[in-house]
Symmetry: C2
Subunit: 769 residues, 2 copies
């Protein structure tokens, strides 16, 4: 064994280490042994086989889940139940740089309320954009219950693009729901409040407090909501709850249920019974039936009133124009769900034990016949429930939400108090099956189960309590989403999935192949506006400018870049008081080659995906030395991807000249490095030979790696040229360093080549001529 | 079918619905069918069987993972690879109320730097607290690379309790590492910077820039780090990297490696070769060998110098006292790992292809013999590598980190460039096995693999790139942690786990039964200080106080409570300009009965676990009506858990008197409700009969449910008494409402009872006399 200092450190070694990477250790294990050791039943093994997804496997469905109070959205795969991403929506999230780079701040800060930064949301109901009542895979919308807002997430990059603030509501719950062609995104109030921003005593609740439903206009072309083309229906101060849009025969209508139509005002601190008692005292509440298509026309025709910049259709107009009706619905309902064919509306009466199935044709007939049993205190006509019901069916305790199967007439309803899912026939009124869940299910979700064409197959039970299901992790438990196989006659529990962050309220799942996300941006891209960034740079054009205005305020503006494995620039100089803007473009083309950018003491953290341009802004309030570096482990030389922001005292004059710091190199050092590089190139050539002698073009992953490797080799050639130019001038210091840089690019090339070679070996690539 | 309005809505129905909850649908599926349909191999089925964990099952190990740039920690189970929790550490996280309630803000804001709020961290290396070199399951420490800080997380509730800021460093990487009895937590610089807060030009790098290692004193009794008893070793401006503490024979020593001992200063923007070239030009860097036990004594003896409030041991003192030595180590190493028996130190030379195994006894001999080959530019003695090496072994390209097996002499090393894990014998110097991972592994981790007593069994490969492993979710990919079975001779890949948020740097896994987390707090508990909160209230003692000081500044202070399903108070009144403090105690005892608290427009979001007291603080800057509500779906009446903050104009005088709003109730309403309640009680009695006639005391989950149900029944009795008192006064409004509240508590009781009954049925409880 020779000491390492005496040895040439060549890439050649290691490549030749012929240890087989596939083994046979498991011949010693049988399935029976494992089952015995782990206490698994046969049923467990079947469930495992139905959910386990091997390395590189794909999930059939992608679920977009609310993240509850985390203010985020959660993306997971079904049936593997593996979480793929948390998307920053209403809450700043540093891994994504969301709320840290200026581009995403511009989105997040659209959500300010009363001039205040709100740094969370209580996300509730995701809604996919739809075309002809089916998910089209382009966008997903999510609402914030706490601070009535709706966000738009683009599914081509899974980033939040827009946040709109409801200028009237102070609380909402029933959103987001899309109309069948995403004409509108529906958002309804929860707790009534005055539309204006003034104080009104609770004694004026009946007169001054209001509910409502907002229809946010969506521009599919631009992928943005248009507040100027949106409108709100004024509604009584009931607690409006969930909504659903009609489809097929009921297209153009929407349905919004409610609770606390008692209009009870609590005050337990004054000895009054609490809200929970007063808001659930009556046996029925009201389903709101709205003709949104006609409402939109009325607004267009100037029948609306502008309040806080939003067009509002007053109740008296809606009543006079015949676009708003109420139907009694069982006690404190939660979900309202339109059947896939659009002919029926199902209401889940939380404190009733029945499902109520309303017939849309009967509703239309009652409206046509003016068959009303009276009016509510605000003059809205009430349609008699018995004349519009298709059927009611007793299903259990605490029915909350319903979703649909691919099988005709089959629905699934969550039973909160029973901790069960009930499968039933809404045409015939028959309970078909029940399964216990763990514990206390809120929403449930079947695959594309709220579209015109549900897929069936799987159901996810969004349980509100986990209690003993998982290893304990303190007083705050994870949530538990249980995956249930609904392909057969009987429901079967497949998997318990803990949710580690946030309490998801509702989830929607889309067939995975409807999504076509990108893996990179066009070079120099502002991902939040989806346009070329004015701060983009190309390689070699990086620059730093310091400009001062007449008042003496100065700005340092960096147009920089990120690439394996260096940041350009490696030094940024500023003076105390300067504003510093750092625009960074990721020059990579390779999939997953993300670079980050963090800096000491300035709350700076960017995530710059391939092609993206991001901006960090800081005020240089203190003199000092502030290291920065790449926060995504991007390459072998990742730790060396560093630099310094140097903030000098105002008006600082240098007293030392430029000089060399650290180690010096000789001609011998240079020559040793060159020798190493030539040896390394031989290895690369060998790997390249292996790849090109196989049908690598049949493997998209390998094609991507080869493209990337080619880029790296071009960089190596550039560094080699610099090295040779320095050597020609006998500048051995720079000759050696550039030679080392040339080797660094060779290492990156080898990394890619080896990954490609292994991939081809593991995927049985064929030798070609 | 009767219309719902005419029907008594009784809890009785639903209970009798005897649909079997276990089915036999799967008899139609065979394992072969599923394998064929999903394209699974026999090997996949074995892997599935080794990882699948059925509902209620437990994981054998709990992993505490860095959350990378998310600034959080991640908790997951092994072998199920399910993520159980994200813990807020350096980043505010609203689901946990972390950085939103005043109690956690007090922890988070300990991490301010230069007076600035830093709202993220780049977490790197979790370290469990240790006793005798083994994990004791009490605490975990995590560092922040971007803003040198260390946080303490208490494993009894998985909450962050303390953050300390390093007053000298501007960058670190090599932390946290615990000494064998958690005497100290080690944190080393990464990018050198001046210790002071002043600007120093890079030309002064050699003289003014410094590295260092801080030894943070940990008080095990108090569970807190003690800055006043901590100290830092001044080191040269190399990029110090990872550390490990000696154990057994090497106890009292610690080892810190480094890269860029070239002390290269980049400047690609000026045409200089980048850091990556200059920092990897030499064939060797330096392993720092430190006698920390003696260093601590020297500091105690007054040999230190205080800088920014931290005791610093200057290099000349360390050299003179013989506590600091350097040993050459192969090119740009990453990890340094002490063997379980403490006799050897393994260095992973990132740009070398060899593992270098140093012998601690030989190091001690060299020191004793003053066998030095020279000094570094700062006068630190250099021990000749060839005299202290046990062996070197060629293992592959890009070795980064090493962990240990339960089998003697067996280690596993990550090979970044090769995208492989190598299993090798560090006593004999033999490669035993290799396995390919996907792709480019950074850290790796075996079960308790860095303790004196590793468990073997599983290995997790923390890959830095996922590329094509999962369904695509845009340009920013999840990370991929691959679970590998290391119980046999050959390593076998079991599972690919996407990390949906943050890029974990290192993970440590502890045997699950070493953790004994609580599921509730003592009533009225400040979880961040771990002491009784001064703002705690007991049920019935809630109050709101408004006080003004002499300057006319007023404060509204609420001492409130949360319980299924109401917030006390339900109205909070304030005037514009008031400071509002809302202290809320969760009165629940039941496991997982968390309540949240969100309010419109004020960035208020609390998570109040059973027993906890949390405080929201806001400034009432605007008049208006601000709804608040519970954000955790806690019960059937969760949506009705609401209230209003009413902010009146300054000096507002009421013009309306108190009056009833909404629905009125009659004697008939009251009597109908009472009838319903009596029927409901009969159901409850029946369920109670079922439970008590079975051996429910053998099931801790059920015992918890029964305790909780008993609480709810007591509340019901209280509401019943109030109802009857109102009825006696012929106050039918309140009689009806309190009767409804009595029923609400019955519903909560039934919910619990039904869960308990189902649990007993599903777990084959036995009938007793």
């Amino acid at each position: 064994m020779k000491p390492v200092t005496k040895r040439t450190l060549s890439l050649l070694v290691g490549l030749g280490l012929g240890v087989a990477v596939t083994g046979t250790a498991w011949s010693q294990d049988t399935l029976q042994d494992i089952m015995k050791a782990r206490g698994l039943t046969q049923k467990d093994i079947l469930a495992a086989a139905k959910t386990y997804t091997p390395s590189g496997g794909r999930d059939e469905y992608i679920a977009l889940s609310s993240g509850g109070q985390s203010g985020q959205m959660i993306v997971y795969g079904i049936p593997s139940m593996r979480i793929l991403k948390y998307i920053g929506v209403f809450t700043p999230e540093p891994w994504q740089g969301y709320g840290f780079d200026e581009e995403s701040k511009a989105v997040l800060r659209q959500g300010n309320i009363l001039g205040k930064e709100i740094n969370y949301g209580d996300t509730h109901h995701p809604a996919f954009s739809e075309t002809d009542g089916d998910y089209d895979g382009k966008y997903v919308f999510i609402n914030d219950k706490a601070n009535p807002r709706v966000a738009v997430i683009d599914l081509h990059d899974f980033e939040t693009k827009q946040i709109v603030v409801n200028p009237l509501f102070k609380s909402e719950h029933g959103g987001a729901f899309a109309t069948p062609n995403t004409e509108y995104v529906i958002e309804a109030t929860q707790y009534a409040a005055p539309y204006d921003k003034k104080y009104h005593p609770l004694e004026k609740f009946n007169d001054e407090y209001r509910g409502g439903v907002t229809y946010w206009k969506f521009n599919k072309e631009k992928g943005r909501l248009e507040p100027e083309n949106s409108f709100t229906l004024e509604l009584p101060p009931y607690s409006q709850d969930l909504s659903d849009a009609g489809k097929g025969p009921s297209y153009g209508w929407s349905f919004t249920n409610s609770f606390c139509t008692e209009r009870y005002v609590g005050g337990i601190e004054k000895g009054r019974p609490p809200y929970e008692a007063g808001c659930s005292a009556k046996d029925t509440d009201f389903l709101h039936v709205v003709n949104w298509k006609k409402a939109a026309e009325l607004v267009k025709a100037g029948k609306g009133t502008e309040i806080n910049g939003m067009q509002v259709l007053p109740m008296d107009v809606s009543i006079a124009e015949g676009i708003l009706f109420l139907i009694p619905e069982p006690k404190s309902p939660h979900g309202v769900d339109v059947t896939p064919d659009g002919t029926k509306i199902i209401v889940n009466g939380k404190l009733d034990t029945h499902m109520s199935v309303y017939d849309f044709a009967k509703i239309q007939k009652a409206i046509k016949d003016k068959n009303f049993e009276g009016k509510d205190p605000y003059g809205i006509p009430i349609i008699p429930i018995q004349d519009v019901l298709h059927l009611q069916l007793e299903v259990g305790l605490g029915p909350l939400h319903t979703q649909f199967d691919s099988k005709k007439c089959v629905a699934y309803t969550s039973l909160y108090v029973d901790s069960q899912i009930v499968k039933w026939d809404f045409c015939e009124g028959k309970v078909l099956d029940k399964i216990s869940i763990h514990y206390n299910v809120g929403h449930l979700m079947t695959m594309e189960g709220d579209t015109v064409d549900p897929d069936g197959k799987y159901l996810v039970s969004l349980n509100k309590l986990a209690i003993d299901r998982f290893n304990p992790v303190g007083p705050l438990h994870p949530q538990n989403h249980q995956l249930i196989d609904i392909s057969g006659d009987k429901m079967e529990l497949l998997y318990d999935m803990p949710l580690p962050l946030g309490e998801p309220h509702y989830v929607a799942a889309i067939k995975a192949d409807k999504l076509q996300p990108e893996v990179r941006y066009k070079s120099g891209w502002n991902s939040r506006t989806d346009s070329k960034s004015e701060y983009a740079v190309r390689a070699g054009r990086e620059k730093t400018e310091r400009t001062c205005d007449d008042s003496g305020k100065c700005k340092v503006e960096v147009f920089g870049s990120l690439i394996r494995s260096h940041i350009t620039p490696e030094t940024i100089e500023a003076e105390v008081g300067d504003e510093v803007l750092i625009h960074l473009t990721n020059l990579e083309r390779a999939e997953d080659e993300v670079h980050g950018f963090a800096m000491y003491g300035h709350n700076v953290q960017l995530s710059v995906e391939p092609g993206k341009t991001s901006t960090a802004r800081l005020m240089a309030t203190e003199e000092g030395v502030f290291p920065y570096y790449c926060t995504e482990f991007c390459s072998a030389l990742h730790l060396e991807m560093q630099g310094y922001l140097l903030v000098k005292p105002k008006g600082y004059k240098a007293t030392v000249g430029e000089g060399e710091v650290g180690t010096s190199y000789t001609k011998a050092d240079y020559e040793k490095q060159v020798k190493e590089n030539i040896a390394t190139q031989a290895v690369i050539d060998e790997v390249v030979g292996f790849i090109t002698s196989h049908n690598y073009k049949d493997f998209p992953t390998v094609v991507g790696l080869v493209e990337d490797a080619t880029d790296q080799l071009n960089f190596a050639a550039d560094a080699k040229a610099k090295s040779e130019a320095a050597a020609a001038k006998e500048d051995w210091q720079n000759a050696m360093l550039w030679a080392n840089q040339w080797w660094q690019y060779q290492v990156k090339t080898a990394d890619l080549g080896l990954r490609a070679k292994t991939y081809l070996e593991q995927n049985n690539a064929k030798k070609i001529k």
